[in-house]
Amino acid sequence: MPRPSPRRIARTIAAAVALTIAGSTLAGCASASSADTVQFHLSKPEAIPYFRELIQQYNASQSDVNVVLDTSSNLQAGFLRGNPPDLGLLNYNMEMARFMERGALSDLSDMPESERILPEVQDLVDQYATYPGRTSVLPYSVMAASVIYNQEIFDEQGLEVPETWDELIAVCDQLTAAGITPFYGTFRDPWTVAQGWFDYTVGGEVDVAGFYDEMNELGTEVGPQSPVSFEKTFAQPVDRMQQLITDYANPDAASRTYGDGNLAFAEGEAAMYMQGPWALGEIAKTSPDLALGTFPLPMTDDADDLEVRVNIDLAAWIPEASDNQEGARAFLSYLFEQDVMDEYNAAQLGYGTTVDAAPVTDPRILGMKDYYDEAAFYQGASKAIPLTIPTENYTQSIALGDDPAGVLRTLDADWARLALRQ
């Protein structure tokens, strides 16, 4: 047998590589959506069964569009390859805003559905980023979050829902005197600190959207000398957050997780809980009949300052790169039919995003309705910081006793550094 020359080996390898690449490209084509298929991306676990059923009904009701549910593919990779889903319905946050900001999402302002969205809810989308001349993202469901409280404990102690900081402290003191833990903390899970303790205290006092407008403008100049900064603007609310934790949270909060917290709160181990409506379903698994209510955390001396934290739990968008925008728009219109939206929001304890949405009725979230209706809400301060900065971990270290000023200074420095390189 002749010895193969190095060149022949090289050629064989090259051919094999070429073949592999060709093969993978073909596979890519096969999985891409064809003309009448709409790839529908939805990843919120609790919502999947509801939409799976909805899609079956929709596919059976007409023959133009065939909707396929996609619950798991990687969005970033999809956009990167130019093969994103045709329609997305998911949580809207900083990460999604990036796609919009760079023009990857198509304009939906000519659709009648965009006219029905509440303007103050549409504003929430713009707080993250905008693309000139486009309405690319339509909010579908909003989650309002504030302090969850145990009504039985409040009634037994003869307590009213506090509306100012002093009233809050008085409530906590009275609970402590009665041997009841005022707040249940679950600091083992950093996100619970950021979502509840940090966002509620900051949002109760600071104009979050205005603050980040200024921070984005300042960029690299954020620091000890700048007119606004985390260290300067957040100093009082974050100090108060630490005060609430030190004085009124369960002593073992540092080692408790979100799951521990839901169980403990369901069993009446504390009077108040800094969590969102998603925790209500978990609590109900243990104590289905427990009477719970919600109220915005009072951080000032004026009851008019009260606001609730909101996030856009689901929002719809259609990528520019979709090859079936027409089909996607048809299904989007179906999703935005009012009774479809109302049924979803009622089931998931969400607030409607349209002018004609049905009012919420669940007593557990009714406490936030007036604030929501008056647009007295803010998006979480921790959610406006790019994920590459470990905000949740920073807030956790404050909860565990680190000096707030030092941690906020680190946050300022990270912000300025990120602005420098992006």
Binding site: I9, E95, P190, P386, T388, Q396, L400
Partner: protein, 308 residues
């Protein structure tokens, strides 16, 4: 890989095929065919993405969309980023500590398990079990133990420092990670040491006995020098694994409390999830260079050992 192959005692003379008269050995093409699939996959899945990643580390890309070349800005920013520097400090201290803990304990266990003891096979099986459980599951189980069982024990016994979860203490959380990582890594290291100990011929010890060497002298003068090749492999493999620590940390502390236990791979991953792609590619490139340097140094040392 070469160290793994080089480590067992070299084959005896007569098993090596004699060189062909012409001085050149003919290579069967089938060997290339064997290599080809892994070569192609390695190139496509590792080498090409690595080169693309290094390319992007000189840009301000966030993973998609428009980008510009920004030269060495990302690299300069790395060196002034306390979070990155802290993750390097943590990762290297953690890796070195864990390598020492794992190797000392695994070696002692291996000596015990190769001695003439009862139920040797059963005991070996027991000690190897942790190896087959996935890291993230081990982490969640230990997380529960550290947060609930151990503090409960501490409270019952009235021991103060045990009454609180060490994972919630920024100064002690790393110890929890070392313990769990060691628990999972000892079996693999142990198996290599057992193989090494079994390869030492018994007559060496008989001769030592006749010369009046004590057990301790035998350990230091005979056993350790004869398994030194295995020590080198275990240290290299261990260091490589522990520098890449990820799943156990995610399950135990998620980088917390605060940022006390964020490892380098955890910060690199945020480049994808947090839209800081180019910057973390620069971090990955730097990490790669450091690991290469360490590996080369270790290889040098191990070559020196084997040729003795």
């Amino acid at each position: 890989m070469t160290t793994v192959i080089a480590a067992p005692p070299p084959p005896t003379r007569d098993t090596v095929p004699p060189p062909s008269p012409s001085g050149k050995r003919r290579v069967e093409p089938i060997y290339y065919a064997f290599l080809l699939p892994s070569l192609v996959i390695f190139t496509l899945a590792i080498t090409v993405p690595a080169i693309i990643g290094i390319f992007f580390s000189f840009t301000n890309s966030i993973g998609f969309g428009d980008w510009d070349f920004i030269g060495l800005v990302n690299y300069a920013a790395l060196f002034s980023d306390p979070a990155i520097l802290q993750s390097y400090l943590f990762t290297f201290s953690f890796a070195v500590t864990t390598v020492i803990v794992v190797n000392v304990l695994a070696f002692l266990l291996a000596v015990g398990l190769t001695a003439r003891i009862r139920a040797k096979t059963a005991l070996r099986t027991v000690f190897v079990i942790p190896m087959v459980v996935s890291g993230i599951i081990i982490a969640y189980v230990f997380s529960f133990l550290f947060s609930n069982s151990v503090p409960a024990l501490g409270q019952a016994l009235g021991i103060d420092w045990l009454s609180e979860s060490i994972l919630a203490n920024p100064d002690l959380a790393w110890i929890g990670i070392v313990i769990v990582t060691a628990w999972q890594s000892i079996p693999g290291t142990l198996l290599i040491y057992i193989a090494g100990l079994l390869s030492i011929p018994g007559d060496v010890y008989e001769a030592a006995d006749l010369d009046g060497a004590s057990k301790r002298q035998q350990l230091w003068r005979i056993t350790l020098p004869l398994v030194s090749g295995y020590v080198v492999i275990n240290v290299i493999l261990g260091l490589k694994n522990f520098l890449n620590a990820y799943d156990i940390i995610i399950g135990l502390t998620n980088g917390g409390p605060g940022t006390a236990t964020r490892s380098i791979p955890m910060t690199i991953i945020t480049g994808f999830t947090g839209g800081d792609y180019a910057y973390q590619m620069a971090n990955a490139a730097m990490f790669f260079i450091i690991v290469v340097v360490i590996s080369v140094i270790q290889l040098r040392i191990s070559r020196g050992r084997n040729s003795v």
